[in-house]
Amino acid sequence: MWNKSPIIRGLATLLLFFALEGVSLLFIAKDSLFQKARINSIMMGIKGDISGFSSDVRYFIGLWKVNDMLHQENIALKNKLDHLKSELGQRDTLFSVTADSTRPGFSYIPARIISNSTNKLQNFIILDKGSRHGVQKEMGVVSALGVVGVVKEVTENYSYVISFLNTTQSISARISPSGAFGPLEWDGKSTNHAILSQIPQHIRFNMGDTVSTSGYSSIFPGGIPLGTAQSSTLKGGTHHMITVKLFQDFSSLHLVNIAVNLNIQEINNLKESNNNNEY
């Protein structure tokens, strides 16, 4: 019966053709990187279409849940807004806070890292925001977990940042309970550690104390946590050299904020007039 029906025979031939071609393609994909990449991209496309469709279906089925969640979130946000409104009314006269800033005096431009190195002594970062977006030279770059660097050069769409992991870079930092401050520098040894120096010998601190930006610079806002004190040595009998374990993992850094000092013009004017009047 099998050999008599021409349709079944034709189908068997077709099936064998596809099976043998499939095996050959599998061999090709296994053997050659180029073909593997092409086949993978086709397969990924098909996979993506299928999973996209299934997620659409799941999304549609789950819409009532989403609606419920959004409703609850809406109510919570409304409550918060009312609360903040009343609080702001009381404090309005004390601070002049711009709407998009998280700390007084600074606003932030979100940026994405498009190039980053951590394996050199002089490391640099390139960000996808430039002069078109309001970035200027000497602006600080921060993330949620610490200081990232300082903008060195700006083009229209990109900015070139000297990473904190650069032996020429130094930022003003203070150690928390006492408030003593000194320069925090990277020593070029480990991407997870930096050295806080020039802390006077009489200052008392414990291992694990938080080190944060001092705010004594026009580049970085104060109070950004940088790391914790890990060990210290006395240098020359007069100063502590504290090894700080950084919070920031520079190798996994992806999204950063460029800190714009809203008062930089005023500060610069002040510095300039001071220089002019020097005698």
Binding site: T13, V23, S24, F27, I28, K30, Q35, R38
Partner: protein, 173 residues
């Protein structure tokens, strides 16, 4: 079907695979020319073989050659399966009634020089286009790979005709 034709097919298979491996190892004219002489074996398989059997032979030949020569594994088998599928259709195009009475092998002696040359050239063209397309994985670079197809097609057609004439045509006379 008795044992003898199968044995002779297997012997031919071994011979052509060896010849192909030796030739492609010896001859290296750069990227414009690749040598494939083994299609002669597949194209002159007995006419009574069903197409499924042809495909299995094509797969086995291609894969063996891929394994022993420096090509990408599976690329010759894929191309020769495609060639073998179109082989019978090409043969029917060139077939003249009464031509192949009692003949089983579509060779030069049986078909005559001109029709055998056409038969070889058309099938080889299919084989080469399939092979090169698989190498590039698409028809996108067709213009740049066309010289590779044309040069190889001419060289291999001539090579196969010489082999057919030298080995099978004269011996069977």
């Amino acid at each position: 079907m008795n044992i003898r034709p199968n044995t002779s097919i297997f012997l031919m298979f071994t011979g052509f695979v060896l010849l192909q491996i030796i030739l492609s190892g010896l001859i290296d004219f750069g990227p414009l020319l690749f040598i494939s002489i083994y299609p002669l074996f597949l194209l002159t398989l007995p006419l009574y073989l069903p197409s499924r059997r042809l495909m299995v032979w094509a797969f086995a030949t291609g894969l063996t050659i891929d394994y022993f020569s420096n090509s990408i594994m599976g690329i010759n088998s894929a191309a020769s399966i495609i060639m073998v599928v179109s082989q019978t259709r090409v043969f029917k195009l060139l077939y003249r009634k009464g031509d192949m009475e009692n003949q089983v092998r579509p060779g030069m002696r049986e078909m005559g020089l001109s029709r055998f040359s056409a038969y070889i050239a058309i099938n080889l063209a299919i084989h080469h286009i399939a092979l090169v397309s698989l190498e590039n994985f698409g028809f996108g670079h067709f213009a740049s790979t066309l010289p590779r197809i044309v040069v190889s097609l001419m060289a291999n057609t001539i090579l196969i005709l010489i082999a057919e004439y030298g080995v099978f045509y004269r011996r069977r006379r």
